[in-house]
Point group: C2
Chain length 327, copies 2
């Protein structure tokens, strides 16, 4: 019962400005400030596909579930307002063993710790028994009307940027797969700078960076790197009707990550964005690096969406090689 | 690929007043009218628990998935604004066989047909491969600030009402279980008045009735009947701090339904609500009957939340016997 109690405790918190009514009625009720609109995203995480009960600590699965949604909010330049969580779990994952909390309690601890950091109340959701563990996250955010960062605004001549480092999540996942066994608590909670698993287990959504970029009106387009640079950049180019040329030598590789992992790895949850060439961006925003990795060109028929200048200076098409949703 | 195409076709529809940006970016964007707030609900449906691939036609599963969310919006007296659908499916359910559409296409056809009736655009969601079929529905609705119908306002002396008929869904499910086999297309699409499966397969969310009741300021509390009368009435009484006394003889049983099915069956998606005794309600709203089934009394310590006056006039506690979420 600890899971429900913990969720109820959330419900009893005083409602914030936007959240007028939380868990406990047929719907939650939210109110925005005048002149704002609501950004809404949902992300489905499924055991065996998006996370692995064998390798991933439950706290990290909870953290990653919420981080996926927050990252979409960041990519719009919005601030998070409320989260909703639909959780389907096998019964054994909800049962505490002796003094150890249940898997579900540990999942929720990871989820709520990240929710606290970003002041995002858990405002509702659904719980059901399921033979397969599934978690669907819904994030609602607020953004001034007509000011959201879209995928569709990139123009020829723009410069292409990325926050943070690339490939760290894929490199961490590769390490986890090699271990095969559950990660020790020590490894899970090791200081982040020293922990090669941290970018994979504890990705940090770039909310502050998205807000800064939107407020400073610096951008023409933005997307978050959830599926992998090659795939997400292809989405941005398709929505904007442009071609991107990226420079392998300029990519901010995470220490320990390969170029392949940086290009196709996914789950880095950094922001990928474009700005007019006369815009001067800082080298970092709220402690996270900003790196120019390429340029935007006119789309010519028959040309690929994304061109990579490799380390020997050769230009080659870069096909989407990241996460496939399969439909 | 038909599934994605069909969803994309939705995305290309002109955005409605509230929906500023649909499928295709990191988030959808929604805008409310001044003075409105947003009602948000999520409902998780899982194969083997909320629906059965063996018995339920895929169109009906799509319809029921959306109806669950719309019914929560109705219970707040809100109007639906947008739906989001996260769908995890085994690959074989997405593959067309010869000229027959895939399971996923038929699911979506049922979903979108109901969405059309209630002018609710499918504004986003997520798709993933999954060994178990799961569907999480998110509904957003709009309601004037401070006017939403809540579970918590019932007062001693109020009268207790229900829309429509009770037990029809449970009776239909019992029939389906007996058949065991997939329902023939003829049975699925038979005229509703003649079709004992219709209340189960094609429940109608009471949006018009919820709007009427909210606009006429007739109510003190409301909830939708998703888990079953005994369970949902217990929720309403708990949130309001009152006791309900219901009269078995007054219950509007669906033809073919037993009293047990009407009390505990669930999934009728009717509205259960309370009004002050001096309020005169019509006998029907937008073609759906309104029936008084009991009264609200002061909650005395040690007393049950719900008391049933049975057909022989005896009063007995009615314990929640409907759907259990198990957590």
């Amino acid at each position: 019962m600890a899971l429900l109690q913990r969720i109820r405790r959330q419900a009893n918190r005083p409602a914030t400005g936007e959240l007028r009514l939380g868990i406990g009625d047929d719907c939650a009720l939210l109110r925005l400030k005048p002149g704002e609109e609501m950004a809404v995203t949902t992300d489905l995480s499924i055991a065996g596909r998006h996370f692995h009960l064998e390798w991933h600590p439950p706290e990290a699965i909870g953290h990653r579930t919420l981080a996926r949604g927050l990252s979409d909010i960041a990519a719009m330049g919005a601030r998070p307002v409320a989260a909703f969580l639909s959780l389907g779990l096998p019964r054994e994952l909800t049962v505490a063993r002796g003094r150890s909390p249940s898997w579900a309690d540990r999942f929720l601890a990871g989820f709520l710790a990240l929710a606290d950091v970003y002041q995002t109340p858990l405002a509702g959701g659904d719980l059901a028994e399921s033979s397969l563990a599934v978690a669907d996250i819904v994030l609602l955010g607020a953004v001034p009307q007509r000011k959201a960062l879209l995928r569709s605004g990139a123009q020829p001549g723009d410069l292409l940027y990325v926050t943070g480092a690339l490939g760290g999540s894929a490199a961490g996942l590769a390490l986890l797969r090699e271990c095969g066994a559950p990660v020790s608590r020590a490894a899970v909670h090791a200081p982040k700078a020293d922990n090669p698993l941290a970018p994979h287990l504890w990705p940090q959504p770039r909310i502050a960076q998205g807000l800064w970029l939107r407020r400073n009106r610096a951008l023409t387009a933005a997307i978050d790197l959830s599926d992998g640079l090659s795939t997400d950049l292809d989405h941005l180019c398709a929505e904007s009707g442009v071609t991107a040329v990226i420079d392998a030598a300029a990519l901010p590789l995470h220490p320990g990550a390969t170029l392949e992992q940086a290009l196709h790895g996914g789950e880095d949850y950094e922001l990928l964005f474009t700005a007019r060439p006369n815009v001067v961006l800082p080298r970092g925003i709220a402690g996270v690096a900003v790196t120019q990795i390429g340029t935007i060109a006119r789309r010519r028929s028959g040309q690929p969406s994304v061109v990579l200048i490799d380390e020997s200076g050769l230009r080659r098409p870069l096909l989407p090689g990241g996460w496939q949703h399969f439909f």
